[in-house]
Amino acid sequence: MARSTLFRVLRPLSPRAKFTIGILAFVLPVGVWSLVSYVPAVWHPQIMITDAGSVSYLDAGSHMARDAFESEVADARQEGRAPPKGVRANPIYLPSPGEVLKAFYTSFTTPPETKDGQWLHQSLWHSIRIIFWGYVISSLIGVPLGVLCGAYAALGRVNEPFIEFFRYLPAPAFGALMVAILGIYDGPKIAIIVIGTFFQQVLIIANTTRKVDPALLEAALTLGTRNRQLLTRVVVPAVLPDLYRDQRILLGWAWTYLIVAELIGTTSGITWFITQQARYQHFPNVYAAIAMIGIIGLGTDMLLAVLGRRLFPWDRSLAKFA
């Protein structure tokens, strides 16, 4: 049954297959990760010392390469000293799923230790607010401008070459300038998200607007629609479901700028947590924070997909692949 129903070009899946395969999309990578973490034979290139024995420079808990460890053990045996003991381990850069899961939990339950500190959920909320405002400001200007550029060739020609040029400039390079203009708190961070999102947004929205079905335009013109009405009554409603989908993709785009944005000015939000934990090599916490961002991103996107189906029930492409 598998091949005949699962692998057919552009054919939607049955709801059950869709659900199962969706789960598999997460189970497979986590499975590989578990295998690498829990089965020593797979990788485990290092030894974690449990007992330093007679070797003066070793401490319990430190990691060393396996061959170096074995030569130390051999030396110690030959000279009749106590050999060091240890267990096979992965480098600290790759914690196991269990450690990350535990870090995920404890990082939320650990109270802030300084008086002016924040709980992790407060930091996360701060980051979400930065994203929200960056995205809203970018969309308020970017979406109308994109639609106009798509609808009127002259406007598109005036704006797009410059935007096309500007979108290649790395947003973080504007960090110092934004600090000079907007201060050291949330202003420059939001600005970096806007810079990172806006230019792509205008181009993508303009392109989508151009894809409006010409048959609709002709029909409307035949029925005597005038220029402005053509835009507001025909073009915009026609491309609205596609614009909505573009906006979902662009929201993900905004998230990718978060870490660089939050390093500008005072360190804040989830980035404070990630950079500080990485600086002291607490990698389970770092991976847990990455997972949090992923969960928030995916969660919002799924929510928007459901909302999209409600808003645009006539759009079949949404129903099929969302």
């Binding site: 430190s62 990691h63 008086k115 110092a176 600090v179």
Partner: protein, 327 residues
């Protein structure tokens, strides 16, 4: 925004009426600090409320080190915690600043860490060293080499980001690295048997850590800065007093997310400078025992390594009067 403004009005109102002297601060002082033990120490004054007790309206903002320099250069903060060499770098770039107090010098936290088998700096002749060129540990390396009668030409430098030096050393592609804590400690952990061959404890005063401020703020805030330096003296004695040290380390370790035991190690490599000691370092002299001599040395290094082109006028960067005004 409006709420913050209202709040600061209330605070200012309380200040004017709460402070014993009539000439309380008319506006808030904003200072930057970042992750270095000598600056994390300010957290004690913040958490204990000593700044407010002293009648000060000072706001400390936490930055990534280089982001704090950007914020100062943009005029968004009045002062920043930097090394004396970086104060010159910032000034050469146009952000005028004067060092008004010394917080500490590195006393072992900065290290040249060599792989097992290399016993001393001398053994590094012809070898590769991973270091972030132009930064403080490059200066430390040159100082160490000079004492061995060697120069930079005797070794090969591999430009590496300081926070990546642990991996760089563990990769086996270099024979030594230069880094400050926690990176230097992590490098030794990542490659067992790796050990320091030269540290800042052997060159005290090579790098001073300071509070440097916008010279334009000194006229209006002279009294505030003098009070602030007094609070610093309290902080230093709180950290150095064995009775209160545990509490001090707890506050500092919490700020950066480490355990107190681990933080104790970082603190041990930092020599905090009290006001009495600071006064002596502010006396003009050649050599690393004086801020003048140390800063001159950093200036020569910066020019030689083309960090900037024009040698800086050292006197314009040092303002000893505020530390000297302490009882």
């Amino acid at each position: 925004m409006a709420r913050r403004a209202a709040l600061s009005l209330v605070v200012a109102f309380l200040m004017v009426h709460g402070a014993s002297s009539a000439q309380a601060a008319s506006s808030q002082l904003r200072l930057g600090y970042s992750d270095w033990p000598g600056w994390v120490a300010w957290q004690i004054a913040i958490d204990k409320g000593w700044l407010r007790e002293a009648g000060l309206d000072v706001k400390f903002d936490w930055f990534d080190y280089s982001a704090s320099m950007e914020a100062f250069a943009a005029g968004k903060i009045d002062g920043d915690c930097l090394t004396n060499g970086d104060a010159l770098v910032m000034g050469a770039g146009g952000a005028r600043n004067v060092m008004i107090m010394i917080t500490d010098y590195s006393n072992g936290n900065d290290m040249i860490v060599a792989r097992p088998g290399i016993k001393s700096l001398k053994d590094l002749k012809g070898k590769k060293i991973g270091i972030e060129t132009g930064l403080v540990d490059h200066l430390l390396l040159l100082d160490g080499l000079k004492k061995q009668g060697m120069t930079q030409d005797d070794v090969t430098l591999v430009n590496s980001k300081t926070n990546e030096t642990p991996q760089v050393l563990a990769s086996g592609q270099v024979d030594a690295i230069g880094a400050w804590q926690p990176n230097s400690g992590l490098a030794m952990k990542a490659l067992p048997g790796a050990h320091p061959v030269y540290t800042s404890a052997q060159a005290p005063g090579l790098i001073y850590d300071v509070l440097t401020v916008n010279p334009a703020t000194i006229a209006a805030h002279r009294a505030d800065y003098i009070k602030l330096i007094k609070v610093w003296d309290h902080v230093v004695s709180y950290i150095n007093d064995p009775k209160t040290q545990d509490d001090a380390v707890l506050i500092m370790s919490a700020r950066v997310g480490l355990t107190p035991e681990k933080y104790q190690l970082l603190l041990a490599g930092t020599h905090l400078i009290s006001v009495a000691e600071g006064k002596k370092i502010f006396v003009r002299a050649d050599g690393l025992g004086s801020l003048y001599g140390s800063t001159q040395n950093a200036d020569d290094f910066n020019v030689h390594n083309a960090v900037y082109k024009q040698p800086q006028k050292i006197d314009g960067y040092i303002e000893p009067s505020l530390t000297a005004a302490q009882p």
